[in-house]
Symmetry: C2
Subunit: 177 residues, 2 copies
């Protein structure tokens, strides 16, 4: 696994931290050598949608930023403090694709332990076709299922989610990549 | 909303941070005044199970730690780096209840924006009845559904998840509390 340790200094007082196992814990944490504060590090959620047009085509975004600039993805991004999973998915769909959607339930929950992330995608219905690329997208387009850009997809979680929907997507996909 | 801001100092170099909106972002982040590093803060996942015995009774734990010491809860805790959602739920069930279970799919995904958390509970089958309280539990017990301790439950997400299972729990419960 990649090292996901982020702390060299204490976020509270600025002194150095050491990674060691606190009393009554069972794994190493960043502990301040001065004030003793423990800084926990946990996985983050990436939330997004698989937006479907009334004719069944799927909306994809071509990434304008790294990683995977130039490749195609579903609209998604890091969930923010103060919002729900659903609100985050709607926000990212609007920010990246300029698209307004209604959510139709969770389609996939994909853990990616190597990078400390969980990706959650909702199936969604486009409420209109007035979408447009946001600042993090080069392009936004609708694709028929037999014309998906399988060779230029940005992420494995996006591929898995698209494959799941293509296969019917009845049950929630829970998997680890 | 509670303030969930954790940074006063930079975790990389120890200098002070300021909360301001970075270029090409749309919300305030902790930015180091010296080295410029941006420290993102995102919701954390709490993962757990609703363990069912072969006779249909549900396993609950009585909390030995704050918050809500002495009240009953489903086995659950913070998802850790390096594990999947499912692995975290199995680990917490073992740590808090000493219980070995098989997962039967996701039962609830409950966002709690006020505290920056998402709670994910799996329906689970107890593989044996040799459970025992771990260090964070005072007691572990099986309850028939007409004898659940509704008045002494620890968390609203636990109550919602129990109510959902009691009502049949067919579809995944996605809600915000």
């Amino acid at each position: 696994m990649l090292s996901l340790r982020r702390y060299r200094h204490c976020a509270a007082c600025g002194a150095l931290v050491q990674y060691r196992v606190p009393t009554e814990d069972n794994r190493e944490r960043a502990i301040c050598v001065d004030c003793g504060q423990i800084h926990y590090e946990n996985p983050t959620n990436v939330v997004g949608t698989l937006p479907l047009a009334p004719d069944g085509r799927v909306l994809l975004c071509r990434r304008a930023i790294e990683p995977q600039r130039g490749l195609w993805t579903l609209p998604a991004g890091f969930m923010e403090l103060g919002e729900s999973v659903a609100e985050g998915a709607l926000r990212e769909t609007l920010e990246e694709a300029g698209a307004r959607v209604a959510l139709d339930g969770l389609l996939s929950v994909l853990s990616v332990p190597r990078i400390g992330q969980v990706h959650l995608f909702f199936r969604a219905r486009l409420l209109d076709l007035d979408f447009a690329p946001g600042p993090e997208s080069l392009d936004v387009a609708l694709f028929a299922w037999d014309q998906l850009p399988w060779d230029t997809l940005a992420f494995r979680t996006v591929r898995k989610t698209l494959e799941h929907q293509q296969g019917g997507g009845a049950a929630l996909l829970i998997d680890t990549l």
